[in-house]
């Protein structure tokens, strides 16, 4: 038990160290940093939505340095082709004169991938990420190449300037574990950002974790206890977003056109476990579900016309659903 407790303590400390390293560069944005770390330890991908200049690219670079992982950045444009992301087959000439086809890996072969402004690429290019995100593999011709773990896609999209963009289809949105909104920094945070920018020397980020430690943390997170009543509460939240006749709340029938898929419940439990571990707990609670409901479900529900007409957002409806669901009493024991 002592060994287990030490492992858990060390896990919490390691995560805290990573947070501290990232804070050297990123001022504020704790929810964004925790969300990206959560998605990384849960084995998912994250979609960041925010206006330009809020430090999304900087966050990815700092995360790669703090975790000692390879990272790459792709700026999505309308003329970007799938081969530009995945790689292509090239003719390789040997010194002896023999020629053979060789697969030249694209920038997707990295641990951390920043897909900047992903909604500016065509759907064909966007869908090139589907297999990589879900299966962690890349197929070129008849060859399938495995992506190295951990693999995190951090896509960004700009809520402004929607003209000329290709909004992500629901099938691809569902593959992102979390959708995190990057908000404007507070006044104090903005002051700190200015001070750091004006400083002569940039703070150096020290690697706090390596690849093996990250995988070990993943294994520990998967063993975090989830009691049945907590699991049932997560299921109730997901079911409440579905506008079927048996829905618990009338809110979904009124404002939601399509509710969350089962991936939403999976995301709640996976991220809830990681969040419990990040807070030094070996059990998941209903509070974890409440905290993660917005980033895990906001991109999995589609509102109808009434919601748009009434000025309701996904977050408003999810908060109302959470407040309307009573804590689950669990099975009879």
């Amino acid at each position: 038990m002592v060994a287990t407790e030490s492992i858990m303590q060390s896990a919490t400390e390691q995560i805290d160290r990573v947070r501290a390293e990232i804070r050297k560069v990123i001022v504020g944005q704790e929810a964004v940093v925790d969300g990206v770390l959560n998605a990384l330890l849960a084995g998912g991908h994250v979609l960041l939505e925010g206006v330009p200049g809020l430090g999304k690219t900087t966050l990815l670079r700092a995360l790669g340095q703090a975790l000692h992982l390879d990272y790459s950045r792709i700026q999505f444009t309308p003329d970007l082709m799938p081969a530009d992301i995945l790689g292509s087959i090239v003719m390789d000439s040997h010194e002896s004169g023999a020629k053979r086809l060789r697969f030249e890996r694209g920038p997707i072969f990295a641990h951390l991938l920043l897909a900047d402004e992903i909604n500016r690429a065509t759907p064909r290019t966007q869908s090139a990420l589907l297999e990589a995100m879900q299966e962690k593999t890349v197929t070129s011709g008849t060859e399938t190449h495995n992506l190295d773990e951990p693999f995190l896609v951090m896509a960004t999209q700009n809520p402004l300037e929607m003209e000329g963009t290709y909004p992500l289809p629901e099938a691809q949105l569902d593959r992102f574990l979390l959708k995190i909104l990057v908000e404007y920094p507070e006044r104090d945070e903005l002051t700190a950002i200015i001070d750091r920018t004006a400083a002569a020397s940039n703070p150096g980020i020290v690697a706090a974790l390596n690849r093996d430690q990250i995988l070990e943390l993943r294994a520990i997170a998967s063993r975090v206890l989830v009691a049945p009543h907590v699991r049932d509460f997560a299921i109730n939240v997901v079911l409440a977003t579905q506008p079927n006749p048996g829905s618990q709340t009338g809110l979904a029938r009124k404002y939601i056109r399509y509710g969350s898929s089962p991936r939403g419940a999976q995301a709640l439990v996976l991220c809830g476990r990681v969040r419990a571990l990040m807070e030094g707990r070996l059990y998941m609670s209903q509070d974890d579900v409440r905290e993660l409901a917005l980033p895990a479900l906001r991109h999995r529900i589609i509102l109808n016309f009434d919601a748009h007409a009434d000025g309701r957002t996904e977050d408003d409806i999810l908060l109302e659903i959470l407040s309307s669901i009573a804590p689950d009493s669990g099975p009879q024991g």
Partner: protein, 494 residues
């Protein structure tokens, strides 16, 4: 790997203690719920009395409350796992105790891994800090408060009932008791009236009371005079009265003895038998008014009888007059039978219509002979047509009958000759028209053609379009460019 310690730990102990507190709390709550239902029945009994709420119903209400309390006790019984969740919620432990309790006590697999043990250790530390008395305090439930209020209400109702009754009885409703006691207190009893008699002075009485007394006296005197005016002996018909009735066919008068023989006396006797009064039948028969004694009829009945007699006499006179008219019409029909046949052919084929036409013909003949005026025929014809037939046709037939009778059929003969002559003339004109050939010139009057609708100018002149261009339809931002463009064009043309 060490053997897991599955003995009841602090978490299970805490959950068990809290569960016992919750159980006692629920027992108390359900007991008071049953008590509240029973007290409700008792209050209803005290309020409405056994006249409306039998005592058995109150007992049934109490039993119903006990049954409901038992059902609630069985259905809402929380499990230990749910108690652990309640502890977490009340103490803000974020499912720590419930998770530990589940994976150590409830889970079928009874997971005993390192993670579970470590989590249980953390939960045990939290369980030591939880006070079951603060987590589940003894508070007065709603059923307890309701029971107290109902008990107080029952006491009040019982006190009211006991205070207004000399001998306690639950039979009458409380409202009746209260009303009667209040009314008795307001209205003085007869004993008190005897103890303090008051001499009534008519001068001191108000006018309304004097009027009511006078009205009472008048009513008594009228009753006495009516009794005195009644004949003492039973009524017997006389022969003079029987002879006074007119002999009318269909009107049968039976003597009183026959009525008695046909069962009227039986009905009277049955009535007497039912009322156990043997004199009732005799009195009823004696009170029956008869037409034999005119002195016993009232004036209204006498006037009605007179009207009836007058009506019968009028009817008989009418019948005699009709017989005389029919005899005279038979004589007239022998002289003008052709006219009557024409009248019948122009009339309606129905029986009623033909009968009317016959009557009209008869009246027409009568006028020809100067017996009756001509208007009588028209009246008879219109009277006959009240059965729904065509009255105009019948009147025309009557007139025709009168004309034919005057010329004796020569008029039709002359008309037939005239029609024949006109026919020959028409044939002659038709033959001449077929043989006629040549040109026909039709002269008409020349006139100037004129339109009904005045002519208006429906289009605008060319100069008006310039004003349309100068209107504000051209956006202000482009106005300068358009003006320059047109000026350039104009300059090139010049």
């Amino acid at each position: 790997m060490p053997a897991p310690n599955l003995s009841p730990g602090p978490v299970e102990t805490l959950v068990r203690v809290c569960q016992s507190r919750v159980s006692s709390h629920r027992r108390r709550r359900e007991t008071f719920f049953a008590l509240a239902v029973a007290l409700g029945g008792v209050c209803l009994l005290f309020l409405l009395g056994t006249r409306y709420v039998p005592a058995a119903l109150a007992v049934l209400t109490a039993m119903f409350g006990v049954w409901m309390a038992l059902e609630r006790w069985r259905s809402d019984r929380p499990t230990a796992y749910e108690i652990a969740q309640q502890i977490d919620r009340r103490e803000g432990l974020s499912d720590r105790l419930a998770t530990a309790y589940y994976f150590r006590s409830v889970s079928r697999e009874r997971i005993s891994g390192r993670i579970v043990d470590l989590q249980y250790t953390h939960a045990a530390g939290a369980a030591h800090q939880v006070d079951p008395r603060s987590s589940f305090p003894k508070i007065a439930t709603r059923s307890q408060r309701t029971s107290v209020w109902l008990f107080a209400g029952a006491l009040v109702l019982f006190g009211l009932r006991a205070s207004v009754q000399t001998e306690l009885s639950f039979e009458p409703p409380l409202a009746t008791l209260l009303f009667s006691s209040w009314f008795d207190s307001r209205v003085p009893s007869p004993d008190s009236q005897q103890l303090s008699p008051v001499a009534i002075d008519e001068q001191t009485l108000p006018d309304a009371e004097l009027e009511s007394q006078a009205l009472g006296r008048k009513r008594e005197s009228a009753t006495e005079s009516l009794v005195e005016s009644l004949p003492e002996e039973p009524y017997e018909p006389s022969e003079q009265d029987e002879a006074g009735l007119p002999e009318v066919e269909g009107l049968i008068t039976l003597p009183l003895e026959d009525l008695e023989a046909e069962g009227l006396s039986q009905e009277a006797s049955v009535l007497a038998h039912e009322t156990d009064d043997p004199t009732l039948g005799e009195q009823d028969l004696g009170d029956l008014p008869t037409d034999t004694d005119g002195t016993e009829w009232s004036e209204e009945a006498q006037s009605l009888l007179d009207k009836l007699k007058q009506a019968f006499s009028n009817m008989l006179e009418t019948l005699d007059m009709a017989a005389v008219e029919s005899a005279s019409s038979e004589q007239g029909q022998e002289q003008g039978s052709g006219t009557s046949e024409e009248a019948s052919s122009s009339g309606n084929p129905s029986e009623t219509g033909s009968a009317d036409q016959e009557a009209a013909a008869e009246s027409g003949d009568a006028s020809m002979e100067g017996g009756e005026p001509g208007d009588t025929a028209g009246e008879a014809a219109s009277a006959g047509n009240t059965s729904g037939e065509d009255s105009s046709g019948n009147q025309r037939s009557g007139e025709d009958a009168s004309a034919a009778g005057t010329s004796d059929g020569s008029k039709e003969f002359v008309e037939a000759e005239q029609v024949e002559v006109f026919g020959e003339l028409e044939n002659l004109y038709m033959e001449r028209a077929e043989k006629m050939k040549g040109e026909v010139t039709i002269e008409t009057r020349l006139a100037e053609p004129s339109a009904g609708v005045p002519y208006n100018q429906r289009f605008t002149s060319h100069a008006d379009t310039g004003s349309a261009i100068s209107r504000d339809e051209v956006p202000a931002a482009f106005r300068t460019y358009i003006k320059n463009y047109f000026e350039t064009l104009r300059g090139n043309t010049e």
